[in-house]
């Protein structure tokens, strides 16, 4: 407070008050948050906005799975062992492979190979559907082994985790379909910034769903 009242030097100094000096927050470039060009003019599209949003979405999704995982960890008492359905091993392989195919799709997009991009997307989509089918077959395996949704929390979690994860993966499948529709509409146009941004965030979501499944799979496999 003293500086405010007594300082006479600062009065004559050229300056702009608190915060970083103008121009530019963070002392770098004007805007500094991905929304303005260097000349301060407004761009219509901000890829950063999509990226930030997807990370924020993933933070929420991860928090929910973290909470559910804690419930699982606290609910397992070793009283009832459930054998991991064989199909879940297969689905783990499928989803990991689909992450690789999607990364190929992204690569093709970077190389501006639209046809390849669409093909890899289709492969990824097929693998996503195969993953969901294998989860359903895994459910049948569980049921045949006498493990039902209603019962010990341990056995409920085999169904519950796969269902919640499957619902999120279904969201990813819709996103892939959306990318396909988008690319079919402007397949002849040059690559747009928007299309790349969408592809990047969908890939991010898809990889995250793969990672979450691997986590759930290991949790169910190791902690019994």
């Amino acid at each position: 407070m003293a500086t405010m009242v007594t300082s006479t030097k600062s009065v004559t100094k050229k300056g702009t008050g608190s915060g970083a000096k103008f121009p530019g927050p963070n002392g770098k470039k004007p805007g500094g948050n991905g929304w303005h060009g260097d000349d301060g003019s407004r761009r219509k599209f901000s890829p950063a906005r999509y990226r930030i949003t997807m990370w924020v979405v993933l933070a929420a999704v991860i928090m929910m799975f973290a909470a559910l995982s804690s419930v699982y960890i606290m609910s397992v008492h070793g009283e009832q062992r459930v054998a991991m359905p064989h199909m879940f091993f297969a689905s783990t392989g499928i989803i990991l492979f689909s992450s690789w195919t999607l990364s190929r799709a992204k690569r093709s997009l970077q190389l501006e190979q639209s046809r390849r991009y669409v093909n890899w997307l289709l492969v990824t989509l097929a693998l996503g559907l195969a993953f969901l089918s294998s989860q359903l077959i895994g459910w049948k395996e569980l049921k045949d082994a006498g493990v039902y949704f209603v019962g010990q929390p341990h056995s409920s979690f085999f169904y519950f985790f796969t269902a919640v994860h499957g619902a999120h993966l279904l969201g990813g499948i819709f996103l892939l379909v959306f990318l396909l529709i988008k690319s079919s509409m402007n397949i002849l146009k040059p690559e747009t910034e928007k299309r790349n941004a969408w592809a990047a965030v969908v890939a991010l979501y898809w990889h995250a769903m793969g990672a979450i499944w691997v986590w759930l799979f290991l949790l169910l496999l190791v902690l019994k």
Binding site: M1, T3, V11, S18, G19, G31, W35, A60, F160
Partner: protein, 627 residues
Amino acid sequence: MSETHEGVHRHPAPTGFIRKYIFSLDHKVIGIQYIILALAAVLVGMIMSLLMRLQLSWPGTNWPILETFFPTGAPGGLMTPEFYLSLVTMHGTIMVFFVLTTAPQGGFGNYFLPIQIGAEDMAFPVLNMMSFWVTFVGFIVILFAIVVEGNQSIGQWFAALGPSFVGGSGTVGPIGGWTGYAPLSALGKVAGPGQGAGMNFWVISIAIFCVGSLLGALNFITTLLNMRTKGMSLMRMPLTCWAWFTTAVLALLSFPVLLGGGILLLLDRVAGTSFFIPGGLYVSGLLSGSNPNFPLHTGGSPILWQHLFWFFGHPEVYIAILPGMGATSHILATFARKPVFGYRAMVFAIFAIGLLGFFVWGHHMFISGMSPYSAVAFSILTLSIGVPSAVKTFNWLGTLWGSRIRFTTAMLFALGFVSLFVAGGISGLILGQSSLDLAMHDTYIVTGHFHLVMGVASIFGMFAALYFWFPKMFGRFLGEGLGKFHFWITFIGVYCIFMPMHIMGIAGMPRRYSQFTEYEFLKGLHPLVVFVSVAAIITIATQFVFYFNVIWSVFKGKKAGDNPWEATTLEWNTATPPPHDNFAGILPTVYRGPYEFAVPGAPRDFIMQAEADSEVPGGNGHNGHKH
């Protein structure tokens, strides 16, 4: 320049009534919708608290109107204990979720965050609209939770969803408290009255609310990180924006946990799983598995629900209070005509409170049988929240120190916020210690504590915000005369209501009992109970003056200019009320921090954020002071 213009008009101003006022994409309309929702919800919650006070101070009185509305909940006009408990539950749920979470963040945050950072709207307007309407659906569902049990015909409406959705069992609404503790909340009808269909709707409503809040939080975070205007660096943002941002982060990380827990609870109730239900449970004279009405449950843990609930529940109280802190800082500076004392410290204190809020949920569970070592850890972390809270309090006092205060109604409510936050926070230091909490946990001291510090303080933050921003939102002042009357009665009233509760609690009066006259050791306190009720009746009556003031002022209030308070931030740069794209096509550029009041050498006692040095009357003579 033409490109700039194009970029700003991302969605044109709608013309039809529905697109303009109902399903609007405009963050300002959505903000007002949230505020209206909160004003409606707070009316419901307030009437419930009135009914509770009437029951507590004059038990056994015949209220014929109660019988008219709730023939099964209040037979003969007498309130049943279950009816009282359902009032406790629904008062808490509606107030915490649909008032304290909606208005400060969804309401004022939605309206003013984009304007204060110099954006023309939220990052995702459609998402923003959905977040409100999802929340609105949640509110409708919670209203169903109230009526579905009390009325036989409404109880049949949702019978198609399954036997657990058949209501009409006699009470009004769920009786599990706003915390809905398992296992009773997880069992369904067998757990007794008030645990049937209404409880299903309660869980579903909370889950819907979680989704709505997540959509909102997403938008807030992206908007703030991505859409600040030129020159608006993070450390030049008003403290309100920091508070809304931190609140959004808290909501983003805590609501998914409640959503996950809520889904598990609902599955326990309707699908027969046992996530929160232990084996060998004996409830209502039945053993689990011995009766078709009470199927076998095994292996779950009811304490887990408490952990999940409070992992959300504690950040939730900061979700309620942080926007109030931001508004208070903002308003104190404006009417003290001084910069916020220690701006940076304020920002870090907001973050510290938010961060610590995630590590203290155990202090709600000291009596759950947790390990004393965990309890000590939770105690220490809880008490450490006192540090950033004290930083904020002393900085508010530092802002006021030696200033010439302009005592507007908004300023009075902001000062009231500081007073209530301190008065309520002090008892937090008592309750935060596990050894003391063990004795006091289920008594009225807890009720007094949290009502003062998160309930009424947050409400005062909202009142301050409404009186402050009303001229910008509607172009007219909220009546100052009625406002000051409203402030003084409410301020004295809430102290008269909640201070005696501390004494009652220390005397051992338990929470959630519908009647105390039966207990010999509490008979001496009955005059105090009546005193609290009288204070509550007067305070509640005063709120109708406020409602009248709002409605009257929207149409007939004194007209306001663009910057009636001589404030500095961007919302006062634009027209009153702001145009559809907030800044009429040209976004402002920010040249300085948010609280440039009483700058030495400047000819005027405030310099707005968007004023360049060359525009400041009197030339280049001023400089900002270090915050």
